[in-house]
């Protein structure tokens, strides 16, 4: 029998299959420093931009134009173009905001928490999950800003010395939200950019075009891979991960305070923070799967984003989905157990009220269908995973709709009850942000390395220093 060369040996533990040979490796065998570098950087530098990229980017840009049209019309007319009314003052806008912010959580979770837990499989997916976070947070920010009705005064939310001598109300969760979301956006951007620096240096050194060399060179800031630099770099990266970990938990906690601090039936509960955070991770991983599956297929990245990644993400989805299901159960139980008739009415109204179909669709999408992930055959089937991830994305959107609209439309006084129906502009703004998200993602895939090249190098067996 011929000896298998070292470079063809499977990756060492903990990246290698742990539970028998049935668990696939984190990286396909046979890669070296050059092949990893070339394969990932070629997507940006040398491979011809595929036709579907132009098609996809074109569609995404069309939807972005729809967003711009919707927002322009909104600015000229007012938020009356949406279906919002009294009593349903928060509707699609805040639903979409919470949905996008939730999606944004997976990026930082994968980058920071999994880094601290030494889950090295995260390496292949952290870069684009972080990019996804940034784009999702950008989409999220659109909604509260335009929901103010006078978005050109949105800076009033920040504390700054002004001639009116006014200061923000720091006892309000809405101001906490401003700080939480803007801090989250800033720290996610820093984390993403710091992670990119060494890869930008790789692109600078490998780019054939003078323009590319200049742009990547400026962004790489003269990175040269010095050992002293790497040492501080790694310290900084770990510290940032340590800072981002409590941050990511705090952001959706603060978002849940927007509701939990209010005395609306169905909102005023202490389970909201943990249940929102679990829901955020759930939807975030669903979105990472939704994006990773087509991306690995069209760019033939099956070597780097292996079945191991898809299965791990499916497992995270299963666990967080169960936490979310537990949240739904506790919500209904406490509503009944509290003995408060207004609280007790909330679950009944959800299950049997005018929006009952939305509620049951939510249960179907978020609780029933994801149980299929218990089965290995489902977790190893790429198309099924893709479909489940789409369903969870929809389910998490429905969850926010149920929490927001169904609590507001019937609170204490039946005389002030009302109904909400979305208008064309509600839908166009939601679809428009999806377009913006995809357009940014397409640009990212085209111009930046979507997988962290230097971290992939460290995963190779030849990266180990022998004593």
């Amino acid at each position: 029998m011929t000896k298998v060369p070292d470079s063809l040996q499977p990756i060492e533990d903990p990246n290698r299959a742990i539970v028998g040979a049935a668990t696939p490796a984190v990286m396909a065998p046979g890669h070296t420093f050059d092949t990893v570098t070339d394969k990932i950087s070629s997507i940006v530098l040398t491979r011809r931009t595929p036709l579907w990229w132009y098609a996809g980017f074109g569609v995404a840009m069309l939807l972005t134009v729809l967003l711009l049209v919707s927002l322009t019309y909104l600015v000229f007319t007012g938020i009356g173009i949406w279906g919002n009314n009294i009593p349903v003052g928060w509707a699609f806008d805040i639903t979409n905001f919470v949905w996008w912010i939730g999606i944004g959580h997976a990026g930082t979770l994968i980058s920071a928490i999994l880094l601290l837990l030494k889950q090295t499989w995260r390496t292949s997916i952290n870069r684009f999950a972080e990019a996804m976070t940034l784009f999702a947070v950008s989409c999220a920010a659109v909604f509260p800003v335009f929901h103010t009705g006078r978005p050109w005064l949105a800076y009033w939310l920040f504390p700054y010395p002004n001639t009116m001598n006014l200061w923000p109300q720091f006892r309000s969760p809405l101001i906490w939200d401003v700080f939480a979301v803007s801090t989250y956006a800033t720290v996610s951007l820093l984390f993403w950019f710091v992670g990119l620096i060494p890869d930008l240096a790789t692109l600078r050194d490998r780019s054939q075009s003078p323009v590319g060399r200049v742009i990547y060179g400026m962004l790489a800031m003269g990175w040269r891979g010095s050992s002293h630099h790497w040492h501080r770099y790694e310290t900084a990266y770990l510290l940032l991960a340590g800072l981002a970990t409590p941050l990511v938990v705090s952001v959706h906690t603060v978002v849940s305070f927007d509701f939990a601090v209010g005395i609306v039936p169905g909102w005023h509960t202490t389970i909201f923070p943990p249940y929102f955070v679990a829901g955020a991770i759930y939807s975030g991983f669903a979105m990472v799967l939704t994006l990773a599956i087509p991306i690995r297929a069209v760019y033939s990245l099956e070597d780097f984003i292996t079945m191991r990644h898809l299965q791990n993400m499916a497992k995270v989805m299963l666990v967080t989905g169960l936490i979310v299901a537990y949240g739904y159960t506790t919500e209904a139980f406490i509503a009944w157990y509290s003995g408060d008739k207004y609280e007790g009415f909330v679950p009944l109204n959800r299950m049997f009220g005018p929006y009952s179909r939305v509620y049951w669709a939510l249960i179907l999408c978020n609780v029933v269908i994801p149980q299929a992930l218990w089965f290995k055959r489902v977790r190893t089937s790429v198309p099924t995973l893709f479909i489940i991830s789409l369903i969870v994305n929809v389910g998490m959107w429905l969850e926010r709709f149920v929490i927001i609209v169904l609590s507001l439309h019937r609170d204490y006084l039946p005389s002030s009850w009302g109904m909400f129906a979305p208008t064309f502009w509600d839908w166009s703004t939601l679809v428009g942000t999806i377009g913006l998200f995809l357009a940014l993602l397409f640009l990212f895939l085209r111009f930046l390395p979507m997988i962290s090249i230097f971290e992939m190098r460290t995963m190779l067996p030849e990266a180990k220093v022998e004593e």
Binding site: A180, P198, M221
Partner: protein, 179 residues
Amino acid sequence: MKRATTVYGLMAEFEDPTSLVAATQRAHDAGYRSMDAYSPFPIEELHEALGAHHTRLPLIVLIGGLCGGIGGYTLEYWSSVIAYPLNIGGKPLHSWPAFIPVTFETTILGAALACVLGMLALNGLPEPYHPVFNVPRFALASRNRFFLCIESKDPKFDVEGTRHFLETLNPREITSVED
């Protein structure tokens, strides 16, 4: 007029991390101190082989976090109690529990900004020009090659002697780095 070129140092190229760490260790043992090693990914052993010290970065991050936290809380206290006191349902003006979320966020923001800016500042980045980039093959330092550069400012540096020493380390190539 042609500018006189001075030698920044001598650079040896290696093909794998193990040889680079071994070479760096030997250079350190031989008494060289002004040197740097370049690799396409972080190598913990390399930092130790260079005999380098701990970084001050954690302290900078701590200070950044403290400034963020104290600044955030002070801003809330000052604006809610002194600059713009509002009586809301008879709640105390200094309602500190409500000030904690923002204090937390500004702490993280201060620490994260200090972390990234501190790391860049300690590393001397952005640095548009550095002599090592004059070596054409150095472009591979961001791909698959490993470099050790002994700088001419080292008291033990001597163009002939150091080159001879580097040759004993079995590098793939030795290049003179022009300043």
